[in-house]
Symmetry: C2
Subunit: 301 residues, 2 copies
Amino acid sequence: MKVYVSVDLPPDLADKLSRVAEIVGRDRMEEAEAALCFRITADEVKSMPRLKFIQVITAGLDHLPWEVVPPHVVVAGNAGSNADAVAEFAVAMALAAYKRVLHYNERMKRGEYSRDLGIPLVAGSKAAVLGLGEIGTRVAKILAAMGAEVYGFSRREREGPWRFTRDLMEALSGAKIAVSALPLNKYTRGLIKYEHLAAMDPEGVFVNVGRAEVVEKDAAVRILRERPRFVFASDVWWGRNDFAKDADVIVLPNVVATPWVAGGYGNEKVWRNMLEEAVENLLRWIRGEKPRNIADRSDYV
Amino acid sequence: MKVYVSVDLPPDLADKLSRVAEIVGRDRMEEAEAALCFRITADEVKSMPRLKFIQVITAGLDHLPWEVVPPHVVVAGNAGSNADAVAEFAVAMALAAYKRVLHYNERMKRGEYSRDLGIPLVAGSKAAVLGLGEIGTRVAKILAAMGAEVYGFSRREREGPWRFTRDLMEALSGAKIAVSALPLNKYTRGLIKYEHLAAMDPEGVFVNVGRAEVVEKDAAVRILRERPRFVFASDVWWGRNDFAKDADVIVLPNVVATPWVAGGYGNEKVWRNMLEEAVENLLRWIRGEKPRNIADRSDYV
């Protein structure tokens, strides 16, 4: 069994994997039956004719070159491995905006000591969590601990500290806080339109820590122009890592912007955990067990 | 029974009180046996020779003119009536700083799209909650829901989602997040000194939503100058409402500053709840029941 590994594995994890498989690099990738990668290109996939299994280190699988991945290749993601990091960040963005910390801190720094905006409560307020996977579940748990009335939206019914709905409008209508942790796939691309954002509380906060493309960019811009007290807080951008492409949105006064760091950027503990869980899942496949987080190909192609 | 009321009560609450007592204003305050107030001055206290009970609408009682309040006068605070608001705000400040939302948002607004600081985790990190009353308990519950290892500090042992300690150094040592919700009294004034802040994680965040005077101002300034990554986030100031007096601290780059708004500033629901609970507690006293939140005079004089 040969495994193509395109990330730097710490020695102990490389050892663990080497006990049951041979790690090969780019020069011998054509022999690989499995691949362990952070990102994988179409060229890489095409260079592995014996490929049967791809273990991705990220939770999201939208970046895979699905069109060239043969249907018999099993793809596993890594949901949950950095879910704490992302969920905490989502709540941090939501509260920083909703509780007016950003607003008042900016005023205080300018020497404007007067008070203008009132501070709304999370307790007793409606919050919507979109996407009820590992991240969404953690976000809902934290918001519920704060006394929010949480609505949970996803395609498949899941139990948790929320009122479940498959109706996006029901989830968002009147919501003061909404957090999207939706994966990007063919069902979620462009899912959130103007009418959904407009259904929220006019002084509400919409947080996106999933993928930018789930929200229609024009819809976000329109609502932000129409409702100066509505806040759009996002860690993910339509231009992906080319943030300059979204400068038009980032500079709006009612936007809170961070550069795709929610997943534990620069945090060795989070990265180590992601690698560990990915290797563990790859080992499950090698041992003939069922790996976790197997992608449903039909979500993407 | 006559009650001196120095706040505007909504008609229904005024009616409720009027059924068992006569509400009097400043012109007849010398007849009052009880007082319901937001703030009360020494002159007001001295003008009520028949006074037996003071119901304050705020949770904190440090602003009372204790030196002129006769020992036989029972004073009741209003702890808990806006505890949700304050606790949510404390967590918002802590996360906005700790998760680098403020840092990255500022950079993005300036068009600096690169990443520098790593994003630490709350999950698995040590957090300290100072003061285990209604606010501290709620803060601890939220941090515990995020997976933090919470240490709870107070004078009297209380059960909750924390490891209890009476040792301030034990609570703060190595803590990544600390939230002070301590009341200001003769035991807590100046309690938090340089060595306590220095014992925290050098990239930690100290949040104060209690009273500024609990922290030595010089200690805060010194630690902020020495440790550029340490963050001091405060809603309360040594100059009280005269924020200009603390401009030297507010302008420091590693300070997050808000103008004493945590307790639900401008939030009618929070204010209504505070008035309701204060009236309810006053009615307890009038009916001969034991009011809640009776102050321990020896904490103040």
